[in-house]
């Protein structure tokens, strides 16, 4: 078991969720509440990572963040080390790649709230923030929870992008998925087996917890 790879993956997943949660709530809420020209285009763009091969995203990130690009040079002169092949670079990739997993369930959650509920809240004199916090988030929370779980679990399993922009540096960019690949190549089937089982278990618990809580809240609302 490669503990440093596992903790690195957990760290990456945690940061990805922390960054995407407020962004997802804002974007999901905005998309659910407003109709505007070109909305389908925005939604399609946000869903793009679902169908985009990870290597394509990885390639563009390499080009965009590499030492020859303006972003890469700016980052290096600012922070003092390159963005590609670093944890921060991996985080950028992970956030981009998880956008649909974070936004779509939240948007569905907010869309499920009847407009009358929001109008009633406004009539009662609740501010927009209080409406969001007291009315909308509680109602949309199953969607938010699935977004969190999906993003977390999906980051743990991310492979293609990490392979392209990571460089498999232990403790820095060697995530658990890469470590499994590495162990197989080192003829260490036992090590690969243990790590795969651990990842399977984590994914199972995460997805199980999400379905369990959402189905419970749904049955409670109806019953």
């Amino acid at each position: 078991m490669d503990w440093s790879a596992l903790s690195l993956s957990l760290k990456l997943a945690a940061w990805t969720v922390l960054i995407l949660l407020p962004l997802g709530i804002w974007a999901g809420h905005a998309l659910a509440a407003h109709q505007f020209r070109g909305k389908s285009w925005v939604e399609a763009l946000l869903a793009l990572p679902l169908v985009l091969p990870p290597t394509v995203l990885g390639y563009y990130l390499l080009v965009a963040m590499g030492g020859a690009s303006p972003i890469g040079q700016w980052y290096e002169s600012w922070i003092g080390r390159p963005l590609v092949f670093s944890f921060e670079g991996l985080l950028v990739a992970s956030v981009l790649f998880n956008i649909p997993f974070a936004i779509q369930p939240m948007q569905r959650g907010f869309e499920a709230i009847a407009p009358e509920v929001r109008d009633a809240a406004a009539c009662c004199g609740l501010s927009r923030w209080r409406t969001l916090w007291r009315i909308e988030l509680p109602l949309a929370w199953p969607g938010i929870l699935s977004a969190v779980v999906l993003t977390f679990a999906h980051t743990l399993g991310e492979f293609g992008v990490v392979l392209m922009v990571g460089g498999s540096i232990p403790g820095e960019t060697k995530t658990i998925a890469i470590a499994i690949y590495d162990r197989v190549q080192a003829f260490d089937t036992a090590g690969a087996g243990v790590m795969s089982a651990a990842l399977l278990l984590i994914s199972l618990i995460a997805i199980g917890a999400a379905y369990f809580t959402t189905s419970r809240s749904r049955s409670r609302r109806h019953g």
Binding site: S4, L18, F85, W141, F187
Partner: protein
């Protein structure tokens, strides 16, 4: 408390703990333990040497294995490796020309390749590959594994041998390309392919040796795999110590045990 508040509390209390506890330890590890990029043929030998280095010098290096061509590209793009052990000296020279390394490095070994047949494979191994020729003619080779010649030096050597013996064209459509030489070895040794050509150093590791039969291929059939290592500019103390350690008799003996031909006497 309502559900969503519990959820937010959990997320914003628990996740930062997960996120913040880990980097501190890693940041320290990064400064003390340099990242080393090594060609995959060194997988078992270098892990052995690094373990001895840890015991002798009480210092730690973080090893990454992959194809030399990929590491050449990554170091050129600024990947934070401090030491690069290439399977092909040309990559080292090109990095030096690009101003990425301190000097032209040193030759540390010359690699050899083997023809390997996993247990139960119809392939008979011999050093002129007559067995391979018959097996191809009889259509008994469905898959044959080599490393990707585009960026893996051992893959290029395999291609040269196959071309020299006139088998390259016959194998088209049956070749499976490993991303690096160790993946090619994995394909062949696991029996997923009926045979393969990969590094002698990998065939000598017990994990691989017990999976099948192999024969060392004559050196004159391919260009020598001159393996050169070099310190990347800005390499720290531990990386320099490991670089020096690799040229000591202890490390040289390990490399020899894994079938590498060592440069005579003082490193050039």
């Amino acid at each position: 408390m309502e559900h969503h508040k519990i959820l937010f509390l959990l997320i914003y209390l628990f996740l930062p703990l997960l996120g913040i506890m880990a980097p501190d330890r890693d940041a320290q590890a990064q400064n003390d333990n340099p990242a080393v990029a090594a060609a995959s043929d060194l997988k078992f030998a270098l892990e052995d040497i690094a373990a001895r280095f840890r015991a002798d010098a009480k210092k730690e290096v973080r090893l990454s294995f992959g194809s030399s061509g990929n590491y050449f590209r990554q170091i050129g793009q600024g990947a934070p490796f401090q030491l690069f052990l290439s399977a092909d000296e040309d990559f080292v020279f090109r990095l030096h020309q690009a101003g990425k390394t301190a000097d032209r490095g040193v030759l540390y070994a010359t690699g050899r390749i083997v023809l390997f047949a996993p247990q139960g494979s119809p392939l008979q191994v011999d050093d002129q590959m007559a067995g391979l020729k018959t097996a191809i003619a009889d259509n008994r080779i469905r898959r044959f594994a080599i490393a990707n010649p585009e960026h893996a030096p051992y893959g290029r050597a395999a291609e040269q041998v196959l071309r020299r013996l006139g088998l390259w064209d016959a194998l088209q459509g049956r070749l499976v390309l490993g991303e690096n030489v160790s993946q090619a070895a994995q394909f062949a040794a696991s029996g997923s392919a009926q045979g393969g050509i990969f590094a002698y150093s990998l065939a000598l590791s017990p994990n691989v040796a017990q999976q099948g039969r192999y024969v060392l291929l004559p050196e004159h059939l391919h260009q020598p795999l001159r393996q050169r290592m070099v310190l990347v500019k800005g390499a720290g103390e531990t990386a320099q110590a490991f670089y020096a350690y690799l040229q000591q008799p202890v490390a040289r003996k390990v490399l020899e045990r894994y079938g590498f031909v060592l440069p005579a006497g003082a490193a050039q």
